[in-house]
Each structure stands twice: as C-alpha cells, then as structure tokens.
C-alpha cells in the first residue's frame, strides 16, 4: 500500500488541490491516478513526472513517490 504525494499544476488545480498525500493499492499505476483524479478529461496530460523524472503512464507507484501532473504548458 504505497503512500505517495500527488502534486497538481496549472489548470489541473482548479476545483482540486495543489498537493495531497494519498495511499494506493499495490500495483497502482500513474494511469490509474490520472483516471481517478479525472484531470485529463478536459485538458490532455502534458507532462507526468515521478520524483522529478519524466515517466510514462504505466509507471507503478512505490512508497514515498512524488507524482507531478501538468497539462501542456510552455513559455520562455
């Protein structure tokens, strides 16, 4: 049962949260988290990081992970 930190950014925060601690079942993937939160329903997922590294949606959560979810953002 990994305990993880979920961080949301930009429009994904609206009506949700900035940061939350959550506990998931063993074997939960980042895809499951994205679906549970429903963040990608309106704006597609732009960037997914776990522990400050880009990962794909099939990443399996581990104890102490920090998951960061961004819609497409840019600037410069």
């Amino acid at each position: 049962m990994p305990k993880v930190t979920i961080k949301l950014f930009a429009q994904y925060r609206e009506g949700r949260f900035k940061v939350a601690q959550k506990e998931y079942k063993d074997g939960t993937t980042t895809k499951d988290v994205i679906e549970e939160l429903g963040v990608a329903e309106k704006l597609p997922l732009g960037v997914l990081m776990v522990n400050s590294r880009h990962v794909d949606e099939n990443y399996v959560l581990k104890e102490g992970d920090t998951v960061a979810l961004f819609p497409k953002v840019g600037g410069g």
Binding site: V47, P71, K72, G74, G75, G76
Partner: protein, 578 residues
C-alpha cells in the same frame, strides 16, 4: 511602393533613403540585421566606437494581418559578448516600420558634437535628427510621454534610460507597446550601443501610412486563417500561456530540478510556489488586473498581463518568467509584489532583466547584498546603478565583469552573457544552445526546454547527452528562420506539434511577396543566418573555446539530480557540422 533602406550617418548628421539591394530583398528581421552587420560592421571594431552600427529590421510578415507577426529585430556588435547580436522585441515598432516601407533602419557613426543626446524621427520621405537636451538624464517613461505628446500618440518609440546613456552593459533598448507600456530589445547591452551613438530616442511616423502590400491577398488571408487556428488550438499557445503567462514555467522547471536557484547552486527553489504562474494568476484575479495582454497588435496568444498591487493599483505589466525567475529563484526574493516593483523600475531604467538578476544574485557571493533582500536590490538599482555611482557602475557592467572584479569563480555566463532560467546541467539540450549560439547564453536561440521538459516536439531526456546536439541544432536553425519572419517565438509550440502550422506560415510569406519558398528554403535560410553570425564572431576573435559552459558546472554537481555538465569539446564543436 517598394520598401527602402533608411540610413542615418551621425558623423555628418546626414541620411539617405536607398533602394534595397537584390541580395537583401528576401530577408527580414534577424536574417537582415545579421546580414547587414556582417557585411558592413568591422568585426574587430570597438562596439561602442564609431564603426559599430545599429540595424533595426521588422520581420518579413510584420505590418501584415498575420497573427503574432509584430516582432522587430535589432542587430549590432554586442559590447557585452564582443560578438554579433540580434535581439527582437514586440511592441509597436515592427508593424509601424513595415507599414512605412522601412525594410531596415541603419544608424552609423557618432555625432561630432557629443555634448548632448539626439532624437531621430523617421517619416516616409525624410529623417530628422535633433538634439534633445531636455531629455538627457531622463528614463524611458519620461521620454515616452514626451514623444506621445509631441506626435499625438501616432509614433513608434524606441528609447534608452540613464543606464543606456552611461553605456552600461546591462542596458537595453525599450520600445513602446500597444498599451503605452514598455517592451525591450533586452539582451547584449544594445542600450549601450545606442548610448554610444548619443541617441536618446527614435520615433517612427505611424500616422500617414497604414497598409502593406500583398502579392495575393486572398491566399494570404486563407493561410493566415489556418495559421491563427493552429495557434489558438494548441494547448500551450491557446490555453496555458493566456491563463498563466510565461511564468507558468516556474513550477514545471522547478519540479524537473532545472530552476537555477541562489546563483545556480540548486535546480530547486523553496520560493517556487510563492512566485509561480498559478500564484500570480490568483493575485491578478483578486486584484482586478488582467491575465491576458498582447505585447503587439495582432497577437492571439496574449501571454502578457497587467499586475496590480493589493490596493488594485497598477504595478507592472509584461511580468515574465525570466524576470521572475531571476529575482525570485536566483536572487531568492519570495514576494511577487516586490519583484513586480523591481520589474517596473527596470522597465523605466531600461535594464536587461536576465543580466541584471544574475548580476545581483552573483553580488550576494560578493557580499554586496543578501538573498531575498528585495528592498536592497531595488535600492541598488534605483540609487546606485541609475545614478552611476561606483558600485552602480560595477553592477551595471553585468555578471561577467562583476565576477572578475570580486575574484569570483562561480560566474554563470557564456560569451560573457548571463545564463537564463534553465539550468544547463539539468536541461542539457538547453545548455548546448547556450554554448553554441552566436548570441551568448540565450534561451530563445534554440529552446530545447520544449523537448527536454515540456514534451513538445517529442521527448529527449534532459539529463542525458544523447540527441541534444541534434535537437539544439534543429531548433536553432528553425528559430533563426522564425526570427526573420517577425513571428513571436511561441509559434514554435504549435509548429513543433501541428503539421499545418509551418506550411501556413510559409504560404503567408509567399502570398505577401509572390515567392515560391519551400520548407527546405526556410531551413536553408536558418542555416545561412547561423553561419553568417558564427563567421562574424570568428572574425571578431571568438573561438571554439568561447563555446563552453562555465567551468564550475563541470565539477560541481547540481542538486536535486546531482548532475554535472559532461559534454566533451569535440561533441560541442560537432554542432557546427551542417
């Protein structure tokens, strides 16, 4: 009517309006400024002496109805880098130059009577050069107000503040934007070049000529529709940038461990949440500002904003990621309002926000101020720098010079230009752009952050070397071409991911000029610009040894990923194999 080259010779206060030479006909923006500087400026000249020239050129599509086409280029030999410089800006100047038929404005020489400063006024038929002793010692907004009044608001205005008059290397050339605020030709110390020529301001007539010509107006309209749609439908240019501005980047760059903090000591900043785009957008909404504002007419992205204080009174606009990073993360100020006050002051004085923020962050190592002391940073700029006191002059000389004066080793510059808001150790493709671009450390020259961090144009792991040189090369070639069209660099986001975007841009160029350019022609133009600029730098005395990252980044691991800069010299130099 055909466009012309407008040439001012300050040595004898004369001007000429010349036909455009055939070889310059297909050029605009950066392609034209770099071509003219390379042809006419002695690469060995002193950048503040009589043989340097300032070259202004609107982009190929500036002045047209094309969305986001209002960027104006300024080229010269840079007193900061000692190499060629092109710095482009939004505001109103590009469109006004283009509508007047000014293909380029070249300013050469230095006035014999250098006891005062001068005002250059450009109209279709002639150019006036007049002394303006009443504006000497004034900053940008005072100059802007005087010119708005004189011409009943119907002019483009380019000006320098006191730092430019003093030929400080941190000074920029400021340009009026559509709301009467300021944008800047920010980098490379071009305000010092204008100061060396004793030019306080340049105005361009906007009253009498309001149309550009099109070879095929219908085709142009059609292509512009497709192009505009691509900008509006892209999630970055259509959603993220209007909602949060460029400052949306603070959180993602911080999360990726690439946000340079406390003079490049960490890739994370504890201030990120306090200064990020999300926090800024909340404050703007609470205080009745505006999250959307275009830096030039015809912008459909509207990434800029108006930022008010707690009482709802205007504080600043054009409050950008680079500036907020420089003062918030790198100098450690955790108060957005304080950063906004500094931003407004720097607009008025005409200072390069990146160079200035990096210089002040380095000044902490020199024990001149402390991290997070926004009040002292403000005072140093307002009381010391703007008045030209000895410490003000030192800070006004930029990051590299400050480092030399105080014997510092951790000096974040490439070609003496301060490194912008992306850590080269943790975003390696961006590092390749910093070291190889002829401009000195410049993020816009080839924005590899897009593909290293933002998943635009695919994904290349930011911490690994593989693929970075090719990525940076392709982006630099494309950016050089885009910088010649007058287009805002943010068209890169749809261009990287939407196959309809670039062909529509090329169709617009063809429909305006009656040409038959292909995508290959545009790529070849980009390559030619880069090679022209590189050749100028080599003749100016720069070598491959200048295409290097500061040494401390090779031996000092950067948290949180604990990465160093690990490219070999041979790998870096292979950038130029094209």
């Amino acid at each position: 009517m055909a466009d012309k080259i407008y040439r001012v010779n300050l040595n004898d206060m004369s001007y000429k309006i010349e036909d455009v030479p055939q070889e310059w006909a297909g050029l605009g923006g950066r392609a034209l400024t770099s071509t003219i500087v390379a042809k006419e400026v002695d690469p060995e000249c002193h950048p503040l002496g009589p043989n340097n020239k300032m070259v202004f050129a609107p982009g190929l599509l500036s002045g047209t109805t094309a969305a986001n086409s209002g960027r104006n280029s300024l080229g010269a030999k840079s007193p900061l880098t000692g190499g060629i410089k092109e710095s482009n800006v939004g505001g109103t100047s590009a469109g006004i130059f283009a509508k007047l038929g000014v293909k380029a404005l070249i300013i050469e020489g230095i006035p014999k009577d250098d006891s005062t400063f001068y005002h250059i006024h450009v109209t279709k038929e002639h150019i006036e050069i007049n002394p303006v002793p009443e504006l000497v010692g004034k900053d940008n907004y005072a100059v802007l107000d005087a010119m708005m009044e004189k011409y009943n608001k119907k002019v483009a205005v380019m000006s320098i503040g006191r730092p430019g008059e003093m030929k400080m290397l941190v000074s920029n050339v400021s340009v009026k934007d559509p709301k009467g605020k300021l944008r800047s030709h920010g980098r490379g110390g071009l305000g010092a070049v204008m100061g060396s020529k004793k030019i306080k301001c340049i105005t361009v007539d906007a009253q009498n000529y309001k149309e550009v010509s099109y070879a095929d107006k219908e085709k142009f309209k059609e292509a512009n529709k497709i192009f505009t749609k691509a900008l509006q439908e892209n999630p970055i240019s259509g959603e993220g940038l209007p909602a949060f501005g460029t400052n949306v980047l603070v959180n993602i760059i911080n999360e990726a461990g690439g946000l340079p903090s406390r003079n490049f000591r960490s890739g994370n900043s504890e201030n990120a949440e306090a200064i990020c785009g999300e926090t800024m957008a909340e404050k703007i909404k609470e205080r009745g500002g505006s999250t959307t504002h275009g830096c030039h007419a015809g912008c459909v992205i509207q990434c800029s904003q108006t930022y008010n204080d707690e009482e709802g009174k205007y504080l600043t606009s054009g409050f950008e990621y680079e500036m907020i990073w420089a003062f918030g993360a790198n100098l450690g100020i955790n108060d957005l309002d304080q950063i906004a006050k500094i931003d407004a002051l720097m607009d008025d004085l005409g200072l390069d926000a990146i160079e200035m923020g990096c210089t002040l962050a380095l000044a902490v190592d020199a024990k001149i101020l402390e991290y997070g002391d926004g009040k002292e940073a403000y005072r140093l700029l307002k009381d010391e720098l703007a008045n030209g006191t000895p410490i003000g002059r030192i800070l006004g000389s930029g990051t590299g010079t400050l480092g030399k004066i105080y014997g510092l080793v951790r000096v974040p510059v490439v070609k003496n230009q301060a490194i912008p808001a992306y850590e080269p150790r943790a975003i390696k493709g961006q590092g390749i752009t910093y070291v190889t671009t002829p401009m000195g450390a410049d993020h816009t020259a080839g924005y590899a952050v897009a593909t290293n961090i933002l998943n635009s144009g695919g994904y290349i792991d930011p911490l690994k070397k593989e693929g970075q040189i090719e990525l940076s090369r392709n982006l630099q070639i494309a950016s050089a071409a885009v910088d010649s069209t007058g287009m805002c660099i943010f068209v890169a986001f749809p261009a990287l991911d939407d196959p309809k975007c670039l062909p529509a841009l090329i169709d617009m160029i063809n429909a305006r000029f009656g040409t038959n350019l292909t995508a290959d022609d545009v790529t070849n133009l980009g390559k030619k610009i880069l090679k022209t600029e590189r050749e100028f730098n080599l003749k100016a005395g720069l070598t491959n040894a200048d295409d290097r990252i500061p040494e401390f980044m090779k031996y000092e691991p950067l948290p949180p990923h604990n990465v160093v800069w690990d490219f070999t010299n041979e790998e870096i130099d292979s950038f130029w194999n094209f």
